[in-house]
């Protein structure tokens, strides 16, 4: 087992090197560069900039250098632990990502907890009360939840909030607290705003998880050991929670490592629509504006977390299910 983990870890730097090249190629694949996108942005806001100004900027930022030179420059920085400077923000990428990280993770953890808190009990109830009225109601809600794109849901909720309550629910803070230092009042303000995006983000996951939980549990409930336990007089709830539920949770727990990159990425479209200050919109902007060093830094961290997350999932699975272990 240890050898297996070490093997996988040794592969990591090599994989990241390959990824860094692929990422750089893909970010550079659209025609033009950061300044083309910048000029387009300016034109679309009724502003012009002279050719000389653009030439000067292109030269200053080194965008007139060949592709390989730009990549090697980036790589050299990466190897010395420097994620570089964002062309658009003119600030270190590490600082930009760091500034968004806290809220991104907070939001992801909240929607994750919400998902599990609702999905697991709902799934258990549905399975144990199969074909009851509530099961059917939950099923319909789940299908709608899975089928509705969550940015759509966000738009609808935002419209309702504005049309009926006269409040705009964009962002995670009221204007007064947006750039205030952390305080109890600011946390309260955050809590007032964060629940809506957390619900929106959690709903699709909840629906999916409930369905999985229900199906897994239904498989278990008909197994002979359940019948035996019941025949022996074990009380129903105690029985269900103690044995079949634990087994039914296994597939869910083994995928828990996949949440790692998701915690970091933030939900791109929902966050953009709801104007949430997290890493999703940061990445989207960086890609649209061809801010290659920032986009590259985010994607590289994302790749890293994906690799680590998969490894953690594998380890979790191996620990729970002896049949998967390499030595076996």
């Amino acid at each position: 087992m240890t050898r297996y983990i070490v093997q996988r870890l040794l592969l990591l730097p090599f994989l990241l090197l390959v990824y860094s090249f692929v990422i750089f190629v893909i970010i550079q694949a659209p025609p033009g560069d950061f300044l083309t996108a910048y000029v387009a942005t300016l034109s679309a806001s009724g502003t012009s900039i002279s050719a000389e100004q653009v030439d000067a900027l292109r030269h200053t930022y080194g965008l007139d250098q060949p592709f390989v030179v730009q990549y090697l420059y980036w790589l050299r920085n990466l190897l010395s632990g420097n994620l570089g400077i964002s062309l658009e923000y003119q600030r270190p990428n590490a600082e930009l990502i760091g500034a968004q990280l806290g809220l991104t993770v907070a939001l992801a953890v909240m929607s994750f907890v919400l998902t599990w808190l609702i999905a697991v009990p709902a799934g258990i109830y549905s399975a144990t009360h199969q074909r009851s009225v509530i099961d059917h109601v939950l099923t319909v809600i789940n299908y709608v939840g899975v089928a509705t794109p969550n940015f759509m849901l966000a738009l609808i909720l935002m419209w309702i909030a504005f049309a009926y309550f006269g409040i705009s629910v964009t962002g995670l803070f009221s204007p007064d607290y947006a750039d205030a230092p952390w305080s109890v009042a600011r946390v309260v303000d955050l809590m007032k705003h964060i629940w809506l995006p957390a619900v929106v983000l959690g709903i699709a996951g909840t629906a999916r998880l409930t369905r999985i939980m229900r199906a897994n549990l239904l498989d278990e409930l008909n197994k002979p050991y359940v019948v035996t336990a019941r025949a022996k007089g074990l009380r129903e709830w105690r029985l269900v929670l103690r044995y079949p539920v634990r087994l039914a949770l296994n597939p869910l727990i083994s995928t828990i490592g996949w949440y790692l990159p998701q915690l970091f990425s933030g939900s791109l479209i929902v966050a953009t629509v709801m104007n949430l200050p997290n890493i999703g919109p940061l990445l989207l902007r960086a890609l649209i504006n061809q801010d290659m060093y920032l986009a590259g830094a985010i994607l590289l961290i994302y790749s890293f977390l994906t690799i680590v997350g998969t490894l953690l999932s594998d380890i979790a699975l191996a620990m729970m299910d002896p049949r998967i272990r390499m030595e076996a």
């Binding site: 942005t41 000389e52 653009v54 080194g62 420097n82 003119q90 953009t272 104007n275």
Partner: protein
């Protein structure tokens, strides 16, 4: 009626400014309560010592204002820094609200020699940067010597400082408050250009805080030290660091001359600019400006979310990013009493023009047609502009070609603005028949000389919201006269790249440079490669390669270039003549097919808090005017 005066006519005004006595009683200045407290605490010198000997006296729109308040605005992130530039409008000179004249702002005035080859700028004695350091001729000389003439900072000279032979004009300090520019050619557009040298911009303006920036420049600080600073801040080289430190939006430490100075960065979630205690302006009662304490730009990732917040009344005065399509919603919500909505139409031109590429080579048959004047005229007649006006522009504006507004001296006359804009399908069909496009295929589409169906692709970017709809309506009209039309909606950057690479057949954009045909990157000059509409990307190649590559500009376009060159060295009357001829050529040749103009499409729907005052009802609205900067933002105020 607006009176438009070009720089020549302005001289009298500016000279007058020199002689003007201090309008406000020099001994009795007033200041904002917050600043008065700081003076009492000994943290700031008294207001009399902070103001120059002759402050700028700013006229107010409605009445003398009250101090205080936070002006809430929204922006779309660092690339939207011009949101702030337009509020700050930090220039030595600036355009007046109607865009008709240029007035001194930070500078006290300017005068030229009789042949316009020499320009003398006078600065205000006692003017100070926002950190209290004196603002003198050295700050302009620093820009000239160490930034403009430094190859690492300025790789190619901006055209406005170039002599006829391509070298840089001479800039010299005559005394602490006087600087002279000397050209080897008449520079009649000097002041218009100077009015666009903006200290808040991302590129270097003609005046920089030398005392602050010297520590980032190798001419004043040892190269190793500058390199060390660059490296410590993760920059590749010192010039990148210098640019970042010289840009106020990215560096709150950088002193500024504007009414408000940044206290956070444009890359922060809220970009805040606060009252500059040394701002050079006062109102006529001697109250130091600005009235408003702070401007806060809140970051929005998405324009729709921004509009939703604007509808809810979250901003105090904003036109930027407000979509014209939401105008009815704003009008409806006006009833709540939170805000009022006014419209500022565009400054001439046309708000959706279809530019046909006259040097299109990928399909020579259609390329030849698009280069034929009668073909373009026929397509102009084929468009039902009333329908576009009603369905896309909410009934606002008028059908017109891309010529200046009627009140502008460059306006060539009604008949040219309306040229070929009447909807006449029969005439269009007859003209197309006369071009030999008589054979049609099964769908009624005309066949070209190579036997293929005549097809035009209109590339459109949903930049100001409504253009894809315009394109669809135009496509329908053109198909009705037998020209197949494909509408292709493209992402911005891709569209721009295809434009430069001569891959666009036709596109829709707005023509918003009609008041400024001779300065900036006007779209009428085919030598401008950037920001040029796709009327012929290959012309500039022909000119730069001396005729080896590209396509030779056709006669009318050559004449346009001649006119632009002439205008740069003649007086006001000559400029008006040149401009009028330019627009007659432009309308007659329909290089761009104009649709509807003079609508509030571009930042023209202004949402204003009911307690926010001194905003003019009418104004020249354009980028070179830095609207709303030309409304003199420092005199805006909140009533209690």
């Amino acid at each position: 009626m607006l009176r438009i005066a070009t720089p020549i006519a302005l001289l009298a005004t500016l000279l007058f400014a020199f002689a003007q006595p201090v309008a406000a009683q020099a001994t009795k200045y007033h200041e904002a309560p917050a600043l008065a407290d700081q003076v009492k605490a000994g943290k700031l010198p008294p207001v009399e010592q902070r103001l120059p000997e002759q402050p700028l006296v700013v006229p107010v729109v409605e009445k003398i204002g009250e101090y205080g308040g936070v002006w809430r605005r929204a922006f779309l992130g660092p690339a939207d820094a011009n949101n702030y530039v337009r509020v700050a409008y930090d220039g030595l000179f600036r355009f007046t609200p109607d865009g008709a004249e240029i007035e001194p702002k930070i500078a006290a005035g300017a005068k030229s020699s009789a042949d316009y080859k020499e320009w003398t700028i006078l600065l205000r004695k006692g003017a100070r940067w926002s950190d209290g350091a004196p603002f003198t001729a050295d700050d302009i000389v620093f820009w000239y010597k160490d930034v403009l003439l430094n190859k690492d900072l300025t790789s190619s000279l901006p055209s406005w400082v170039r002599n006829a032979d391509g070298t840089a004009a001479k800039v010299e300090k005559l005394d602490d408050y006087t600087v002279r520019f000397t050209y080897d050619r008449p520079a009649t557009l000097f002041l218009s250009e100077a009015a666009n040298q903006d200290g808040s911009d991302m590129s270097y303006a003609m005046f920089l805080p030398a005392h602050y920036l010297k520590k980032f420049h190798p001419a004043y600080t040892p190269k190793e030290e500058v390199d060390r600073l660059a490296q410590a801040a993760s920059f590749k080289a010192w010039n990148e660091l210098f640019l970042a430190r010289a840009t106020p939006a990215q560096n709150p430490e950088r002193p500024t001359m504007a009414a408000w100075m940044p206290v956070t960065r444009v890359s922060d979630p809220v970009f805040t600019i606060r009252r500059n205690p040394y701002y050079i302006g006062v109102d006529k009662e001697g109250n130091q400006l600005p009235y408003i304490d702070e401007v806060r730009f809140t970051y929005f990732a998405d324009q729709q979310a921004l509009n939703l917040a604007a509808i809810a009344g979250d901003f105090d005065m904003q036109a930027r990013h407000i979509q014209m399509t939401n105008y009815p919603v704003f009008k409806d919500q006006e009833k709540t009493g939170k805000y009022r909505v006014i419209v500022w139409p565009t400054f001439g031109g046309s708000d959706a023009v279809i530019a046909l590429n006259t040097t299109y080579t990928a399909d020579p048959a259609i390329g030849k047609l698009m280069a034929t004047k009668d073909f373009r005229v026929a397509l102009s007649y084929a468009i039902n502009r009333d329908e576009i006006k009603e369905s896309v522009f909410l009934g606002l504006g008028e059908a017109r070609q891309a010529v200046p507004a009627p009140w502008h001296p460059y306006f060539p006359g009604k008949e040219w603005a309306a040229k070929y804009t009447e909807f006449d399908r029969d005439k269009a069909n007859k003209m197309l028949d006369a071009l030999g496009l008589t054979k049609r295929d099964g769908q009624g589409i005309r066949l070209m000389e190579n036997g293929k169906a005549a097809t035009i692709e209109i590339s459109v970017v949903p930049a100001f919201g409504a253009w894809p709809d315009v394109a669809q309506l135009v496509a329908k009209d053109w198909e009705a006269v037998g020209i197949k039309t494909v509408v292709q909606i493209r992402e911005r950057a891709l569209h721009f790249n295809m434009r430069t690479a001569n891959q666009l057949m036709a596109e829709i954009w707005n023509e918003d440079t009609t008041a400024f045909p001779f300065t900036g990157g006007a779209k009428f000059d085919v030598r401008n490669t950037l920001g040029t509409l796709t009327i012929g990307p290959l012309y500039s190649k022909w000119l730069t390669t001396g005729g080896k590559e590209g396509v030779e500009p056709i006669e009318p376009l050559k004449r346009v270039m001649q006119l632009i060159d002439t205008a740069r060295s003649v007086g006001h009357d000559g400029q008006v003549q040149a401009a009028q001829e330019l627009f007659r050529i432009w309308a007659d040749n329909v290089f761009e097919i104009g649709t509807i103009g003079l609508t509030p499409m571009v930042q023209g729907v202004v949402v204003i808090n009911s307690k926010f005052h001194n905003v003019p009802m009418t104004i020249g609205n354009d980028w070179p005017l830095r609207t709303p900067g030309n409304a003199r933002t420092e005199q805006f105020f909140f009533s209690k």
